[in-house]
Subunit: 454 residues, 2 copies
Amino acid sequence: MDVEAVIAEVLPRIRPTDEERAFVEGLMEELKIIAEETIEGMGLDAKPYFVGSLAKDTYLAGDHDADLFLAFPLDVPLEELRETGLKLGRAIAERLDSYEVAYAEHPYVRASYRGVSVDLVPCYDVKSWRDVKTAVDRSILHTGWVLENLNGRNDEVRLLKRFLKGINAYGSEIHVRGFSGYLAEILIIEHGSFLEVLGKADFMLRRKIIDPGNWLKREYEIAMKTVRREIDADRPLIVMDPVDPRRNVAANLGWERYGVFYFKVREFMEEPSVRFFFPERPKAGNYLAELRRKGTHLVTLLFDAPGMIDDLLIPQLERSARGFERALSREGFRVLGWDVGRKGKAFIMLELDRRERERVVIKPGPEFFTVNGRDFYRKNGRVWLKGKRLFAEKAVKENVVDVIAELLEKNGVALGKNLRASVRNADVLLDYVPKELEDEAYIFVSREKWNLKG
Amino acid sequence: MDVEAVIAEVLPRIRPTDEERAFVEGLMEELKIIAEETIEGMGLDAKPYFVGSLAKDTYLAGDHDADLFLAFPLDVPLEELRETGLKLGRAIAERLDSYEVAYAEHPYVRASYRGVSVDLVPCYDVKSWRDVKTAVDRSILHTGWVLENLNGRNDEVRLLKRFLKGINAYGSEIHVRGFSGYLAEILIIEHGSFLEVLGKADFMLRRKIIDPGNWLKREYEIAMKTVRREIDADRPLIVMDPVDPRRNVAANLGWERYGVFYFKVREFMEEPSVRFFFPERPKAGNYLAELRRKGTHLVTLLFDAPGMIDDLLIPQLERSARGFERALSREGFRVLGWDVGRKGKAFIMLELDRRERERVVIKPGPEFFTVNGRDFYRKNGRVWLKGKRLFAEKAVKENVVDVIAELLEKNGVALGKNLRASVRNADVLLDYVPKELEDEAYIFVSREKWNLKG
């Protein structure tokens, strides 16, 4: 199957139909009216803007969450923006089907209307990067820039986004570290088409700086500062945000996700196939059989995640997993790998080289002819010398579950700061996971989760 | 029990009776005559000298091996000395009960006569350290010096030697690294008595240089060279040989044996007891029970030792054991300790933290965007990324016996040079040793072998 044929087959599946398009436009129109009425009713000075893929018409068929930003004048104090913005969001949401308050940098309202999720996000009505005060303020500028520059290549964006989703490299959340939708749009605008972007996968990596906003001419000082900063941070890509010279759009793109993109592009070019866009889910397997095959063991910590969004939780789970890796290796267990996440409860999985260590470790002491040497000699049972140094046996807990309990008791593990309490009360499971984690356990232990060839 | 009482009880057990003394003197007289007659019969220009504890009357009751040295004039070439000396030794031994030829720096004859082992050792008839040509030449000078200086403190030497034997710190062989008889004699001569020497155990260690021959006055240059060399070598003691300023009598004394002496002296002073001189043998135990208690495993390599004396064999066994320690730890096994020796066959015992490792290890690869990266990706099955680096699984042998076989095949272990062939053909036993090694296995695994409190 050649590339064109594949694309011809993929396109109709990702391009919204006229019906869907009509529905979405109708929905946006309604929401706009509701928002404007509510603003007026509350006597507020705010403007509703649609941002994100709906506003840019780069959304994938069937995937049309709405982002309605409520922009306040720059002179409104931040505190007031947060309060009034949230109040306004609530008021609008009252007229929709249902809603809840979600927390990011600021609280915002996540509502649902006619089966569509609608985020109502307060922000400032910025006209330039110099006005930007909060993380979300740029979205309006991003939307504007894309609309100006995309010139009808919307389907190219859809192809790239679907490809990135298919190979599991899409999403700029900190725990994904993949390509954001905005980055995909910029790459299309920059290189012209989906296939052009794929053709550049290798070339982009050679520390190519993409600067569609021409900042390196227009704002040399600031732009160079950004470039230097991002080079020091060793990012795979530097894509100057066309609406803000201080920002690398690819700042959250990790080497892992870029690497996936890198290899998948190669494979796709060699053997084009629809499966890159629509992979069959990795066939689940039996994690216990996998553990037997590898001769390894699986320790799983299960605990209630405090009310944190994944963007905050996941990094702390990762920090904690690394903490266990270090602490357990000091105790004589080798951690071959770890995996974290949330499936109802939060979990940390550790793959170990063994479940039990020897019951006795050899404890080195001081040199024998010192005062400490004499104490060590007195305090210990069997004592012997290697050269000048005294040694003795120390009885230790054998089973990894006991060792972990002991480590947590003694604060012997570096944990994510909001997780300390909950990890200490975690259930520690050995070579067993509850039903809902069996698939996760399999793709972790088998490494299918990260398998580039998966 | 106070010290005097203990000594009073020990002395009669270590001092030869008049009968034994008479027997020994008679024996020496006979041997002297046999030697002289043989020398005359062969028309040789050589003199027989008795050296060692018999000659010095510092032997312990019941422990009277004879050292009869056959001293040749200095002008005899070394080659001739070896040949003629051996011939003479044989001729003398012919008139004794039985004999064999033993190999040290030079071949010599080990004969047996009236139940006493008699070493017939060719050497040069040296009058001064400047004449010394072979390692054994000094013995005649040592004997002379001790006879001149001991002044009837023979029993004090016997007490010290018996004490050192009792605490297992006696013997200067390279695989013991304890106190030699000559060192014990010098210490008595220097400090006056057994108890005086014990009183100095700590003090001697503070880098005290003992120089009974006054070399630091008489031969400052040479003596200081010796002192510096021995300080660099970090010896526990420096005892200038009263008959040779180039030699530290304590050069073969290791920190381990000195440490044993150090602690046992303390204990003896606090609670004097006969058991320091005549310990009850460490009660044997079951090595398998000990392995279960510790949760460890024992690997034993058994092989025929090439015809080497222990002084050559043991150091090479030790080197080989350290080689296995390094190689196995690279393979993921921790070696908690090792033991070597010869009981019929030579053996290397390794105590390990486990008998089986995981069947799969994680193999780090190159960075993904390199040519090597693409090869690594192609060549391996499941491949994943951490940062820029590729990783893959590698199947490995699981059981330590297989791992050792593989290591030896690939010359992956640093072995003593004369042992390579034999170790490669060794029997490798896991958690099992033949009957004759069961006690050794127990005192090793339990560390009773080195237990200072044993």
